[in-house]
Amino acid sequence: MPPEPGTTFTDLALPDHNGRPRTLSGLVEGDPAVLHTFRGPWCPKEQRFFDRLLALQDEMEVAYSRMISLSVDPPEVTSALRAALGARWTFLCDPERVALERLDLRETTDTTHDPYVPAVFVLAPDLTIHARYDGYWYWGRPTVDELVRDLRAVTREIRADWAAPVPSREA
């Protein structure tokens, strides 16, 4: 079964776009995170959806949140895609499809590329899945507004000072 909301996402250990070994928990650290699996740079739907993530990136960079994209492409392909997009988040590479099998996220209808099924997970810092969006059909993918709402909910949950501290009236 693919990862479900309310469960803990597997702590992946994969190379990033530079070929450096990374873990999902290390990338998420103590922040809310968006984890995005995608078919590959050849897919027009993925190209279009990256526009949405790029729009969100400009807000996430000041909002203490992390973003990770994951595909079966090797680091050299992923690095070129990331640079061409202007993406500033981390891409993970699973060319051996080890994590793909473990997560049960294989797109079984594409026997040519054998890719990840498109999906988006919003994670809490402890990798608990707050929300999952299935993107096999394009309209299943989250809008920027939906992701903002999810990130707001996770942030509100984990930041004890969500309501900004105010001067004590008793002083």
């Binding site: 650290e29 922040d31 960079e61 203490y64 992390r66 640079a83 993406a87 500033r88 981390t90």
Partner: protein, 169 residues
């Protein structure tokens, strides 16, 4: 525990990690040292990212920007913001640390790279838009293997904490 970075003429005896510097012609250029302690260890020291340093670290090429205290460059200056964005976008360095004097003042930066093209990569230091940095060879005993980037976050985790790295506790 705070981490401090300073350039010194001699090897400091009380530093957590230190390494000799050489200029691009191979000439001696002093020492670069890091301390892990609460108080400022040396004149001109600035707070740095603790994870950028390792006493067992290997040599690297580095671009070093140490601004004088009276430079008064804000950490939120748009040039510093753009440099942080470029660091994330290009992800070309093994080690990255901004330096800070206090909650609002940018004190400089350190970026380092190893391997083929390491020298060329540090010559394209994104922080050069703030002020011209110095290119140096850093000897063994100071720089970590790699500093993780909090992609795509460019903000600090606490006003006096250097970027990248860190988390809210």
């Amino acid at each position: 525990m705070r981490c401090w970075l300073a350039r010194t003429a001699e090897r400091p005896t009380d530093a957590y990690a230190s390494a000799p510097l050489r200029d691009t012609h191979g000439g001696g250029a002093g020492w670069l040292a890091a301390w892990r302690q609460a108080h400022k260890p040396a004149r001109g020291a600035a707070m740095a990212l603790a994870g950028a340093f390792d006493p067992d670290g290997e040599p690297a090429w580095a671009s070093l920007l140490l601004l004088p205290r009276d430079a008064r460059v804000r950490f939120d200056d748009t040039a510093v913001q753009r440099a942080r964005q470029r660091i994330l976008a290009e992800d070309a360095f093994d080690v990255v640390s901004t330096l800070v004097h206090d909650a609002s003042t940018f004190a400089g930066s350190l970026v380092a790279a190893r391997g083929d093209g390491g020298a060329a990569r540090v010559c394209d230091d994104p922080f050069a838009v703030v002020e011209r940095p110095e290119i140096v060879q850093v000897g063994p005993g100071l720089l970590a293997a790699h500093t993780a980037l909090p992609a795509p976050t460019i903000e600090r985790y606490g006003s006096s904490h250097p970027w990248p790295g860190g988390r809210f506790t």
